[in-house]
Structures are given as structure tokens and as C-alpha cells.
Symmetry: C2
Subunit: 364 residues, 2 copies
């Protein structure tokens, strides 16, 4: 993550993973989730925070989810079932459940199918936000599989190339692949120039937005560094057509096809504006043994990732990294030192705790 | 394609699809290909030219392929065989055959597996250049399937984010999905800012390169419009880190994992420098019926694509298009009016014809 998105040092409060996890499980249970679903949902958020992906951790997300549960926009006790199935595919009805515990079920089905038939793909319809995609794509790694996740739906935030209105969400993609001794390859990005949650984070920490990250309300890319305006549209990655925004637009559209259309929901921009966060998802597990010996694959992955790390850096660059490396490094640090949260986030936890009469203690 | 890449009007010679196809088949046969493989390979190049993707058509590619056949770098009579297989996966040995006729075989296997099990993925190792990826991704469309293709290997042209050396080829991705009445969605892009072949084309037509399209020989992005220098490196899409080059780099790395590593060849940057164009490929066919009713999917695709076409344009923009639309429109025009080739390309055909004593006639 770029430096500007970090919590400023003066505002940081360090909380141990264990304390924050306990608090988060208790908050999910206060929304009506079963013990196991609360635990799974908390694990997705804590994994984000541990990996330094705080844009998708408890800071931004938990207050959104609690409000949505409170407003009846998410079903705390969904009946998740397969509505269509082949050897290698399935389509799940998420029954308006939170993606954080619906999508692990989908990926488990995909892994089981991949174990038996070489590959497994599962779509999910009628679901809600899934947080950090990397979580689901990493699930198959321990089974010697490659994982892929994408999601789409609403709210609409992205303006396609040449358009003057928002027609997509941030439609992220995440791929993960195991190595033998090195931290796994974990690549997780929005198809916008910047993830929507990172903009909220930038606003909280007072950081500027880069040129070509957002468009004005007519669809014109804003070409100067700026504070986040009240109204804006996210540009597809590339930013302008000359700089390849048609590529971000195309990957976003592909995500829409796999996630919402292939799951039977139709495009996000035709979904009714309320409830606001209906989403479809797509997960895939690819069994390495269906192509080559997994040990050979993982040894080659080590050579590949090592070749990237050891590449000659460009002038004034410290080092070359690969997707997933710094997140792995950050996780080791945060597991021992605790996770730095903005004081404003901790205040929210304390006030929610008092309001709901909960018993967690973030400090001891 | 951007205007600058078109053949200047004064240099255009229009040739009918039929004449150019006949000439191309004859040239492939002169390289030692079987009738059926010559026909398939010509079909890939002609489909590129008809769709306005001349960067990957006969203009740039045919002289490269003939030279490689002549130098013994491509095997004109490869023995293509499955070396590992499950219900939904396979790994093919391409036996150093040209991707233009090897990859259609791989996609046929993927389609067959998808028909039976819902999805099919096939890797290919020891293969050569595949030209325009869209061709293979479009193959499953008539079977009510979604197609996906990616390829990687060498020669190395792309510099990863922060690196000072080339470690990837252009590692393109292509996805295709059918609609009911509208032209299909066909999204085919390099993970570099610009396809390598487009730079050669820009050089031929004398066009400038955009800022952040290429890096100098140390890995520094060149930030001003410029003529193509003699030595350069391609930047991942995004260009600079601030503008998201880590996304292009990540998609390029994912392509490498699926294409060369999962097919057993290891990373492209560890392949021996000779022969120069060893490539691995990955194709996938996804049966729509494994998730939802194909007619429902295609009706939703019509709504989706129509929604994009009818989106309000940004100020000073004519219209919003979707990937595959202008290529479809161009194909209709070129099928009736002929295909515009640069006079220099036609000269090459004439000189090759004389040299090899061939009988095609481009004009009558």
C-alpha cells in the first residue's frame, strides 16, 4: 500500500490481533450471526488487517456491516444452497448473506470439485460484500491449488472509458498461487485506479488523490493532485484512454460477466437501487496436479518469485517485490507488535460496545 | 485501435480477404505445414486483419514466422499430444509447433471437457507465438461457453514495477462471452501499456509513443511523447506505480504462472535465450449451462452490452463502446471493401512469392 494510506503515527493505537478478533466476533454475533459464521467473518477482516490491507479490515467495514444488519439489508441467518451444478461448476444462492461467510462456503465447494475433477468454479448470487478477495483466493493454496476470485454488483462507483455515468462497482480480481519455500503469490486489485475503500482511508488520513484516479461528475478525468471532492466517479485502471483505461474497463466488464451475469443476477447497473449492496461473486480453484506435478510447480514458483525479488532495481528504487510479499512481511510484524488502528476507529468500537452492552476489552 | 496505428491513406492498398487468405495459406504450406494446419493458421491471421487488429495480422507476423520456419525455430510438423489429464484439465506438448494451429487443438479439448464437466482448462508447453488471442477465446462462443486465453514466455520485453530489467513478454489476456442478438463481448489486451506489435506498427507509420508507454534501458518510465527509440523496455499497464503499474505487473505475473509455470516450462526469464520465442499457453472454456440457462445469460448479456452502448458519453466523447464492438463493425466493412495493407507489406508478399516461386495473385 502507498505510504499516504497509512494511519499517521500520532493517531495510531496498537491492538493485539487476539483482542481485536474477539471484539469483532462479538460484534458479528450481536448482529445475529451464528458462532461459526461470526468467527469466519471476523477471520476475513482480521486477515486483511494483519496483511496491512486495512482499507478492507475492521476500520472501514465493521461499522458498515453493523448498520446494514441493523437496517435489514443483510440476512444474518441465510440459507445458502446450490441451485445448479455439474462436476466442475455450481451456482449458489447466497440468500442475502454477508459474503464474508458465504464465499468461504463457495470456495470450499470449488476446492472439492477441483480435487475430484481438476478444476472447480462456483458463482454466487444474492450475496453481499466480501471484503478482501485475497482471503478466498488463498483458501486453495494448502490443497496445492491456484485460487481466483472476482466480484461485482452495486453500489456503482466506476465510469467506463468515454462514459459520463457510473456503471460498475470496483469489480476487483484476486489470484493466488503457492510456492515451495517463499511466501505465496497473492495478487488482489480493484479494476479501478484505486479501491473505493482506499479513498475513504485517504480522506480519513488527509491524503491527496493522484491525477487520473477519479473523474468529475461528467466523466472527465481530474488531472491534478487533489483532495477527495464530495462527488466524483472512479476511473478504470489506466485512468485515461491513452493510458489504457479501456483495459481496466474490460477487466471490470469481465468481472461483471462472471460474477453477476453468470450467477443469474444480470448486470449491476440494472439492479434496483435498494438494497444498495447486492453482489454476485465468482470463485475458481485450479488443481495443479491436473497439469503437472505440484512439487515441480512449487519449485518453479520459488525460482520465479526469487527471480523477481533479485531483479536489478530501476534507479532510485530500493527493491523489486512480488504481489503478496509485503503483505506476508507485514503480517509477521503485526502478529508480534499488534495492529495499528486510527484512534477514531477505536472510539467507534468503544461506543458500539457501550451501545450494545458488549463485553470485549481491546486492551487487556 | 488508436487512430495513429492505422496505415496512412496514401500508403494503403486494398486486398480482398479471399485473395489474402489464399496467399497466406500458400505461404504457410511453403514452410512445410500440412494443408489443414496452413488453413487454420491463415484463419487466425485473417481474422486479425478483418477485425482491424492488423498488429497481429499478416503484416507483422507472416515474415517473422517464415523466417523462423526457415531458421528451424518452429517445427512445421509437430506431434501434439496430451501428457497429463483429468476430467476438466489437460497439459499438451506443443512439440515446438506454431501456436496458430496448436492452440485451436487445445481449445477444442477444453470445449469438449466443458461440454462434459462444466469447465475445461488446457495448458500447452513447448509451443510458439499464437498471434491474436481473441481468436481462441471466441472459439467456445458458438457452444454457449465463455472463453479465456493467456500466453507467456519469451522474448522478454516488459520491465516489472520498480525493476531495471526485462522479465516478461507482453503476457496478454483475452476473454470472450456470447450475447443473444448483439456482437459478442471480446476483450483482448496485452498486460503492457501497449502491445509490442503496435510499437512496430507505430514505427512503420511514423507515429509518436505516448508518455509512460515505455521505459528507458535502466527502467525509468519515459514521460514525454517520443519516437520509438532503438532500445527500450515495455512498461506494465498503468505505466508508473502511482498510476497502477503494479496491476499490469500482477496480471503479467499471473499469466506467467498459468501459461509457462503450470504447463511445466518454468518462468520465461529462465528459459534459454535460444530459440527466442518459446511460449506456454493457457485456455479455458466455461459452459454457461453449468451455472444458469444459456438463453437467460445471453438475454442478460444483451441488456448489459446495450446498457454500455447507450450510456451517456463524457463531454467531447462520441459514444461508449464495449470490447469487441468496433472489431465486429470493422469486420463487416473489410469483408465487403477489402483489407487496407501498407504498400511495404504488399511488396514483401510479392518478393516472397518470387523468391519461393509461388502462384498466388493478390489482385485478381
Amino acid at each position: 500500500m502507498l505510504e499516504r494510506f497509512l494511519v499517521p503515527e500520532k493517531d495510531r493505537i496498537y491492538i493485539s490481533e487476539e483482542k481485536m478478533r474477539t471484539a469483532t466476533i462479538e460484534i458479528f454475533k450481536s448482529c445475529g450471526l451464528s458462532d461459526v459464521n461470526a468467527k469466519t467473518s471476523a477471520d476475513v477482516l482480521m486477515t486483511s488487517d494483519l496483511r496491512g490491507c486495512e482499507s478492507h479490515g475492521v476500520s472501514n467495514q465493521l461499522r458498515v456491516y453493523t448498520k446494514m444488519y441493523n437496517d435489514g439489508e443483510i440476512n444474518p441467518r441465510p440459507n445458502i444452497e446450490i441451485v445448479r451444478e455439474t462436476n466442475a461448476t455450481a451456482n449458489l444462492n447466497g440468500d442475502e448473506g454477508l459474503g464474508l461467510h458465504v464465499l468461504p462456503k463457495a470456495m470450499e465447494i470449488a476446492i472439492d470439485k477441483a480435487e475430484k475433477h481438476g478444476i472447480g468454479s462456483v458463482t454466487v448470487h444474492n450475496s453481499r460484500h466480501i471484503g478482501m478477495l485475497a482471503y478466498y483466493s488463498m483458501m486453495p493454496l494448502s490443497n496445492n491449488m491456484i485460487g481466483f476470485t472476482t466480484t461485482a454488483g452495486n453500489p456503482l462507483t466506476m465510469v467506463p472509458t468515454n462514459a459520463g455515468e457510473k456503471l460498475f462497482a470496483t469489480n476487483p480480481w484476486a489470484w493466488a498461487a503457492p510456492a515451495m519455500t517463499l511466501p505465496p503469490f497473492v495478487f488482489d486489485v480493484a479494476t479501478t485506479q484505486v479501491a473505493g475503500n482506499k479513498l475513504h482511508l485517504a480522506k480519513r488520513v488527509g491524503a491527496d488523490i493522484e491525477p487520473s484516479w477519479i473523474a468529475d461528475t461528467k466523466g472527465r478525468p481530474i488531472q491534478e493532485p487533489t483532495k477527495l471532492p464530495d462527488e466524483y466517479m472512479l476511473l478504470p485502471f489506466g485512468g485515461t484512454r491513452e493510458q489504457g483505461s479501456h483495459k481496466g474497463y474490460g477487466f471490470a466488464a469481465t468481472s461483471e460477466i462472471l460474477s453477476t451475469i453468470l450467477s443469474g443476477m444480470g448486470p449491476g447497473f440494472l439492479m434496483p437501487p435498494k438494497p444498495r449492496t447486492v453482489m454476485g461473486h465468482y470463485v475458481q480453484a485450479i488443481k495443479i496436479d491436473g497439469f503437472i506435478d505440484p512439487d515441480d510447480f512449487k519449485k518453479d514458483m520459488d525460482k520465479f518469485l526469487l527471480g523477481l525479488i533479485n531483479a536489478k532495481p530501476a534507479p532510485n528504487k530500493d527493491r523489486v517485490i512480488y504481489p503478496g510479499l509485503t503483505e506476508y512481511e507485514e503480517q509477521k510484524i503485526r502478529k508480534s507488535k499488534g495492529i495499528p488502528y486510527h484512534s477514531e476507529v477505536i472510539n467507534w468500537f468503544e461506543s458500539y460496545k457501550n451501545e450494545m452492552d458488549l463485553s470485549f476489552n481491546l486492551y487487556e
